[in-house]
């Protein structure tokens, strides 16, 4: 399937020729990608492939060098500040580390978007927060602080906060990273259940192959800032692309790279032999 063929009228995220730099270093080399309504799109790639940067762009947390991005049909470059806030209310994000506010209880963390964006009574917000915590199987934990939760519970609480406003799109950054296989599998089930129950579009960034194959409708494989492939799980699994094969079969990258070349790739600067910083 080519990228042009992916375009469909029900795309909720449309990215065209997205280029971004960190300083002199080019991170994304003209990414073009569509995410369809109601699907789970997994963005996969090795370390340094640009998948987290792409996710931060999709969440409008980074400034791009060039390209266009439409989210829920709106060009994010053409939104006023107020329209931008309105758009963000329709997006939910579960960060890798949870990003819960340590000074608030779990319940208050989950309620925060409601508190900031609605005029609901406190008691109503408490009920809604409790309901969302039950969805993520954290019912009864609302009065604990994030410091009193395990890693898996923090991620679940982050999911509860991300879905409190019933978003149209849910972004998940490495949901199973750092968790034991059983907890990671439970979180995968949670993602599938959320899509089933709430019908939202979900974009997941992960490098966990098992998790990706379990939850994905389609997978985008990134490598060094380029899209290697967009396809279904089976299409990705049967790909003949060498780099995808290496990624799926955990073949390590060539580690005989010249140190100058490695440093240049890392920093975007060219170092001559003997001029490298110690």
């Amino acid at each position: 399937m080519t990228q042009n063929e992916q375009k469909s009228p029900n795309s909720v995220i449309e990215v065209e020729n997205l280029v971004t730099h960190y300083g002199d270093r080019k991170i994304l080399n003209g990414i073009t990608l569509d995410v369809h309504e109601g699907e789970i799109m997994v963005i996969m790639g090795g370390s340094g492939s640009g998948k987290s940067t792409l996710l931060r762009h999709l969440m409008a947390l980074e400034t791009k060098t060039s390209g266009t991005m439409r989210i829920l049909g709106r060009d994010i470059d053409k939104l006023s500040a107020l329209e931008f806030v309105e758009l963000r209310k329709k997006l939910g994000v579960a960060f890798q580390g949870g990003a819960l506010f340590s000074s608030l209880t779990v319940g208050e963390n989950v309620m925060l978007p409601l508190y900031e964006h609605t005029d609901l009574e406190w008691s109503t917000m408490e009920i809604m927060a409790r309901m969302k915590l039950q969805v993520v199987e954290l019912g009864g934990f609302e009065d604990l602080t994030p410091a009193e939760l395990s890693g898996g519970m923090i991620k679940r609480a982050a999911f509860a906060r991300a879905i409190i406003m019933d978003p149209k799109i849910l972004f998940c950054d490495e949901p199973s990273a750092g968790l034991d296989p059983a907890v990671a599998s439970a979180l995968d089930d949670l993602i599938l259940n959320l899509r089933e129950a709430m019908g939202m579009t979900i974009v997941v960034v992960t490098h966990e192959l098992e998790s990706a194959f379990k939850i994905a409708d389609r997978i985008t494989v990134l490598d060094r800032g380029d899209i290697l492939m967009v396809g279904t799980v089976e299409e990705v699994r049967s790909s003949s692309n060498e780099r995808i094969y290496n990624l799926l079969n955990r073949v390590p990258e060539d580690d005989t790279m010249d140190p100058d070349e490695y440093l240049a790739r890392l920093t975007g600067e060219k170092f001559e032999a003997g001029s490298r910083p110690l």
């Binding site: 500040a81 931008f84 806030v85 963000r88 960060f95 580390g97 990003a99 975007g268 600067e269 170092f271």
Partner: protein, 271 residues
């Protein structure tokens, strides 16, 4: 892409000086933008349906102001008594120790009370602000606010800035009263001047301008402490070590800014 780093030692030195200067100017600019944005959210936040929360400001006022009362009273009083002791010792050389009240009143109200208050608030609250914002940044909590459609400036910066603008002058005024009162007790014991006579002298000597001079400086210090704390917190990189460095840097920069500002203002006011 070709490296732009000069090869020679002199070239690298000037390169570093230039980059540091640009970074410094950038930080000052960021600070100015944060103050402007905080004021925008304070006055126009309701238009965006995101007002600065009064309870957040009150919480900050408690942390920055009320909790600091004992330590500021203790240090403000100690400095004033020390000044009274040194003043009497010096003026006794000329047989003019009874005039100690004049010098003491001016220096406490115009200089020392705002400066000591500013330094203590910088050490207590400026550093806490830098650490809090830095920790929130590395934990992606600031990103979380942004994606929720909540302005981090409105949520994190405006409340402490407003609280400092209110509480630092209040603490300065308290330091004036406590310091002058404790110094009065010492003068009463040492020179036999009654507290009533001492108070009369203070009222005769000090003008409203003197008090406003000190309070005006405390307002400038409040802005400096908040901005330096936030800018350093927001620039944190590298995890817990970065937070530690930013906290230390914010205290050093805030105290330096306070002392330099005190000197600049006093020079300008005597021109």
């Amino acid at each position: 892409m070709e490296s732009t780093t000069p090869k020679s030692a002199i070239g690298r030195f000037f390169d570093k000086v230039g980059r540091t200067t640009v970074a410094g100017i950038e930080e000052v600019g960021n600070g100015g933008v944060m103050v402007a944005e905080s004021l925008y959210w304070l006055f126009f936040g309701y238009r965006m349906k995101q007002p600065v929360r009064l309870n957040a400001v009150i919480q900050q006022m408690m942390d920055i102001g009320i909790s600091a009362i004992p330590i500021i009273a203790l240090l403000g009083g100690s400095i004033s008594v020390t000044l009274a002791i040194q003043g009497i010792y010096t003026l006794r050389i000329f047989g003019a120790e009874s005039h100690v009240t004049a010098g003491l009143a001016f220096i406490v109200v115009r200089e020392f009370a705002p400066m000591i208050t500013g330094i203590l608030v910088a050490g207590r609250s400026g550093s806490a602000l830098a650490a809090r914002i830095g920790t929130m940044k590395i934990n992606q909590e600031i990103d979380a606010l942004k994606v929720m459609g909540v302005s981090p400036i409105r949520f994190l910066v405006a409340p402490p800035l407003i609280a400092m603008l209110i509480m630092v002058p209040c603490l300065t005024m308290m330091s004036n009263v406590v310091g002058l009162y404790l110094a009065g007790i010492y003068i009463n014991v040492e020179l036999g001047i009654s507290l009533a006579a001492y108070l009369d002298q203070i009222i005769d000597i000090l003008t409203i301008d003197d008090v406003l001079h000190g309070l005006g400086k405390s307002v400038i210090y409040a802005i400096e402490i908040a901005v330096i704390g936030v800018v350093n917190g927001a620039s944190v990189e590298g995890g817990a070590e970065g937070v530690g460095k930013a906290t230390t840097r914010s205290v050093v920069q805030a105290i330096s800014a306070i002392i330099v500002t005190a000197m600049v203002v006093v020079i300008l006011s005597t021109l």
